[in-house]
Amino acid sequence: MRSFPAATIVLLLASAALGSCQREARETRDAPLPFSQQTLATTTTVMAGGGAAGAPDPRVAHYEKNAWHVSEGQRLYEQFNCVECHAHGGGGIGVPLMDDEWIYGSSSPQIVATIMQGRPNGMPSYRNLLTEEQMWQIAAYVRSLSGHVPKDVPPSRADDLASGPPITLQKPEPVRNSNRESGSR
C-alpha cells in the first residue's frame, strides 16, 4: 500500500526532472550537436513555400525547449535589430513573425536558413554576423512569438516597449501555406 504512492511520486518527479532539465539547463558551452551549413542548406530553398520538409531535426527540440536559448534568442533579436523590420513579431518593413503565414517555412531549420542565407526583398544574410548557434537561438525565439514552443519555456515579454500579447499567453497559430515543416508539433 505504501509503495503505490511512492512509485507514483518517483514517476512524477522523474518526468518533472526530465522536463525541467531540458528547460532549465544553461547551455553555455558548445552545443552538443554537430552543426554544418551543408545539412542546413538542404532543408529549405529560397523558393516561396519553403520546399520539402527534411527529417526531424534533433536540434529543434534542443533549442526550442530550452529557456536559456530562447531567452538568448530574444536578446539577440534586440541586439541585431530584427526589431527594425519585424517589430516584436508584428512586422512592419518586414513580414510579421507571429501570424500564421510563413513564406519560407516556419520550422526552426527553415528560419535558421532564412537568417543565414537572407531572402529576396530585404532580408539580409547574417552569415557574417551571427554564429549558427545564435541563429538557432533566434529561430527558437521567433517560433515562440507564434506560440510554437512549449508554454513554460519563453519569457512573457522583454524589458522593452509593450508589443503584442505576452508570449506566454500566445495561442499556437496554425501554420498556413502548404508547407508542413519538420520541427513543429
Binding site: L13, A16, A17, S20, C21, R23, E24, A25, R26, T28, A67, W68, V70, S71, Q74, R75, K151, D152, V153, P155, S156, R157, A158, D159, D160, L161, A162, P165, P166, I167, T168, L169
Partner: protein, 634 residues
C-alpha cells in the same frame, strides 16, 4: 451530563475526562488531523531545523568553493542557485518559521490556556509551510532552484533576464511561507490578547509573549509587502504585466521599496522573538524578575515601529536624493538605542541576580557579545557615507550574520536547551551543552570575523569565485575553516538533542525553577495543558506563595477561557475546534493551485474551485455534542 472542573472534580478523574476530550485519534490519522498546538509546534520546530541543516550544508559548499581563489569546484550557475537557496531557506524557511514555531508551542502554555486560537488554521499553516519548503527544495534538486538571490532584484529576476521557471518557484515559495506566517501571526495575537489566564493583565505577561505580540503585528504589516511584490513579479513573468519594466513606466526600484519594506522589518521579526527567549532565560537563571520590564516592553515596541522606517537603508547606493541621507542615517541609527537598552537590562538582571551558570545562560552571554558586535557594525552601515563603501561587500555579510546568528540563532539554541525538558520531559546532556556553546562561539567568530576585513579589502558579496592576489585568500581560508568548526557545533547540538531524547535525565514539571506558567504543568504537558485554568497575580506566578486556579470549564467538550484584552478578566467560555483532516487536504489542494499558477494564470480559477469544498467542510460544524442543551447542570 455536562461536568465542569472544580473542587469536586479534580485529580485523576479530571485528568481522565480531559484526556478523553482533548486527545487526538491514534496512529497516522491522528497525526494528520491533529490540531494540538504542541504537536503542531513540535513538528514546526523540527521541520525548521531540518531546513536549517539543509541551508547550512549549502553554506559549507559555498565556503569550500571560496576557500581558495579561482576555485572551479562548482559552476557559476550552481553557485548562484546555492547562495540564493541558502538565503531563501534561512530567511523564509528557517528563521521566521522557527520563531513562530516556538511561539505556537509555548505561547498557549505561557498564557495558561488549553489551546491556541484557531487551531485548525494553525495546522493548515504548518502544512502550507511544509509543502512550500518541500516544493522549493524539490525544485532545487531538479535544477529549478532560484538563482537571483533571496532578494530577487528586478530586472534580473524579471522575464527577460531569468529564463525558465526558477524565479517563479522562488516567488511562489514566498506565497506559501507568507500565508503560513500571516495565519500564525493572527493566531498568536488572538491567543495572547484573548486567551490569557485570569488576572494576567497586559503588564504581567511574560516578556516572550510581548515579543511575540510585537512580532506578530510586524508580520501583519510587513509580509503583505513581499506578497504584493512577488505577485507583481509572477504577473510580470507569466502574463506580461509591466510593473517592473522601465520602458513602459514600471520601475525597478518599486521592487526594492516593496521588498525592503518587508525585508527590513523581517530582520526584527527574527530578532525580537529571540529577545523574548533571552528575557525568559535571563530571568530564570538570574533568579529574579528581568530588570526594567516596562523599558523592555517599550524597547520591543519601539523596535517594532522603527523597523518600518528603515527600509531605505538597504538602498543607499541607488542614488536617492542627497537631501534625505542625513535623515535616513539618523533613523537607521536610532534603532540602536532600544537595542542598547535591552542589552543593558539583561546584564543588569544578571548583575543584580544570583545567576546559575547553566547552558541556556551561557548561550545568552554568547548572544550578548556577538549581537553587540553585530549591532555596532549595524551603526556603521547605517551611516550613508560608510555604507556606500561597505554595502554589498563581505563586511555586510559579516554584519548580518552577527546579527542573525548571534542575535537569533544563539538565543534559539539556548531556548531549545531551556525548554527541551518541557517539550520532551527530559533534560539535555551536560556538560556537552557547555562545550557546545564554546565550540559554536569559536567557530562562529572564526568564520565571520575575518569577513569584516575581506569586505573592507574590497571583496564584493555573491561572487562565485575571486582572483588570487587580492589579499583575500588567507581570510577566506580562515572563514572556511571556521565554518566547519561552527557546523560541527550545530551537529553536536543535534547529536545532543538525539541522545537526550532517548536517554536524557527526567525533568519533572519545573526543572529550572522558572516563574512562567508553562512550567506549571507536567513535562511534556498533557493534551489539555492545564487541568484547571491558572489565575495569575504577578509577573512571576510560579514564584508566588499560592497558585490559584479558576474552575468551571466543561470537560466533555473542548472549551477555553476567554478573558478581556487588557485586564484578563474572565469573560466568555469559547469552544475550541476538534481535530480535523480538512486543513491538510486544503493545504494539498492549495499547493497544487499555487504550483499550477506558475504555469498558467487559469490555475488561480481552478485552484479556488478546488479549495472551496475542503474549506466549507473545514468550517462546517459537525460536533454532535454542540446540539445538546447547554448548561445542563443549571
Amino acid at each position: 451530563m455536562s461536568r465542569v472542573d472544580g473542587p469536586d472534580f479534580t485529580g485523576d478523574a479530571l485528568h481522565a475526562a480531559l484526556t478523553e476530550t482533548w486527545s487526538d485519534a491514534p496512529g497516522l490519522w491522528g497525526w494528520i488531523t491533529t490540531v494540538d498546538h504542541k504537536r503542531v509546534g513540535r513538528r514546526y520546530i523540527a521541520t525548521a531545523f531540518v531546513f536549517l541543516a539543509l541551508a547550512g550544508v549549502l553554506a559549507l559548499i559555498m565556503r569550500v568553493q571560496l576557500a581558495r581563489p579561482e576555485s572551479g569546484l562548482i559552476s557559476a550557475d550552481r553557485y548562484n542557485q546555492i547562495f540564493s537557496m541558502h538565503g531563501t531557506t534561512m530567511m523564509f524557511l528557517f528563521a521566521v518559521p522557527v520563531m513562530q514555531a516556538m511561539a505556537v508551542y509555548l505561547i498557549p502554555l505561557m498564557m495558561g490556556t488549553r489551546q491556541i486560537a484557531f487551531p485548525r488554521l494553525n495546522a493548515f499553516s504548518y502544512w502550507i509551510y511544509l509543502f512550500g519548503g518541500v516544493f522549493l527544495w524539490i525544485a532545487f534538486v531538479l535544477n529549478i532552484g532560484p538563482e537571483a538571490g533571496w532578494f530577487s532584484y528586478v530586472p534580473l529576476a524579471g522575464p527577460e533576464y531569468s529564463p525558465g521557471k526558477r524565479t517563479d518557484v522562488w516567488a511562489q515559495m514566498i506565497t506559501f511561507t507568507e500565508v503560513a506566517a500571516l495565519a500564525g501571526a493572527v493566531e498568536l495575537i488572538t491567543t495572547i490578547l484573548k486567551q490569557r489566564a485570569a488576572g494576567m493583565s497586559l503588564n504581567r505577561i511574560p516578556l516572550f509573549a510581548w515579543s511575540i505580540l510585537v512580532t506578530s503585528f510586524m508580520v501583519i504589516f510587513a509580509m503583505p509587502a513581499v506578497m504584493l511584490a512577488s505577485s507583481f513579479l509572477i504577473a510580470d513573468r507569466l502574463v506580461g504585466t509591466q510593473f517592473y519594466n522601465p520602458a513602459e513606466g514600471g520601475d525597478a526600484l518599486l521592487w526594492q521599496h516593496l521588498f525592503w519594506f518587508f525585508g527590513h522589518p523581517e530582520v526584527y521579526i527574527i530578532f525580537i522573538p529571540a529577545v523574548g527567549f533571552v528575557s525568559q532565560i535571563t530571568e530564570t537563571f538570574s533568579r529574579r524578575e528581568v530588570f526594567g520590564y516596562p523599558v523592555m516592553v517599550l524597547s520591543a515596541v519601539s523596535i517594532g515601529l522603527l523597523a518600518f522606517g528603515l527600509w531605505v537603508h538597504h538602498m543607499f547606493a541607488t542614488g536617492l536624493p542627497r537631501i534625505g541621507y542625513s535623515f535616513f542615517t539618523a533613523a537607521s541609527m536610532m534603532i540602536a538605542l532600544p537595542g542598547g537598552v535591552q542589552i543593558f537590562c539583561w546584564i543588569a538582571t544578571i548583575w543584580s541576580g544570583r545567576p546559575r551558570w547553566e547552558t541556556p545562560l551561557l548561550w545568552v552571554v554568547s548572544f550578548i557579545i556577538t549581537f553587540v558586535m553585530g549591532g555596532l557594525t549595524g551603526v556603521m552601515v547605517a551611516s550613508v557615507p560608510l555604507d556606500l563603501q561597505l554595502h554589498d561587500s563581505y563586511f555586510v555579510v559579516a554584519h548580518f550574520h552577527y546579527v542573525l546568528i548571534g542575535g537569533a540563532v544563539f538565543p534559539l539554541l539556548g531556548a531549545v536547551t531551556y525548554w527541551f525538558p518541557k517539550f520532551t520531559g527530559r533534560m539535555m546532556a551536560e556538560p556537552l551543552g557547555k562545550w557546545n556553546v564554546l565550540l559554536s562561539f569559536i567557530g562562529f567568530h572564526l568564520t565571520f570575523f575575518p569577513m569584516h576585513i575581506t569586505g573592507i579589502l574590497g571583496m564584493p558579496r555573491r561572487v562565485y569565485t575571486y582572483p588570487a592576489g587580492m589579499g583575500w585568500d588567507t581570510l577566506n581560508l580562515v572563514s572556511t575553516i571556521g565554518a566547519f568548526v561552527f557546523a560541527a557545533s550545530i551537529v553536536l547540538f543535534l547529536f545532543n538533542v538525539a541522545i537526550s531524547l532517548r536517554g536524557g535525565r527526567a525533568a519533572g514539571d519545573n526543572p529550572w525553577d522558572a516563574a512562567s506558567l508553562e512550567w506549571k504543568t507536567s513535562s511534556p504537558p498533557p493534551p489539555y495543558n492545564f487541568d484547571h485554568i491558572p489565575v495569575v497575580e504577578s509577573r512571576t506566578p510560579l514564584w508566588d506563595e499560592t497558585r490559584p486556579v479558576i474552575p468551571g470549564l466543561r470537560t466533555e467538550v473542548r472549551e477555553l477561557l476567554v478573558t478581556t484584552a487588557i485586564d484578563a478578566i474572565p469573560d466568555v467560555r469559547d469552544a475550541s475546534p476538534s481535530p480535523n483532516g480538512w486543513p491538510f487536504i486544503a493545504a494539498i489542494l492549495l499547493t497544487i493551485g499555487f504550483i499550477g499558477s506558475i504555469f498558467t494564470p487559469w490555475a488561480v480559477v481552478w485552484g479556488a474551485l478546488l479549495m472551496a469544498p475542503p474549506l466549507i467542510l473545514w468550517f462546517w460544524p459537525h460536533d454532535p455534542l454542540e446540539v445538546k442543551p447547554e448548561h445542563s447542570d443549571e
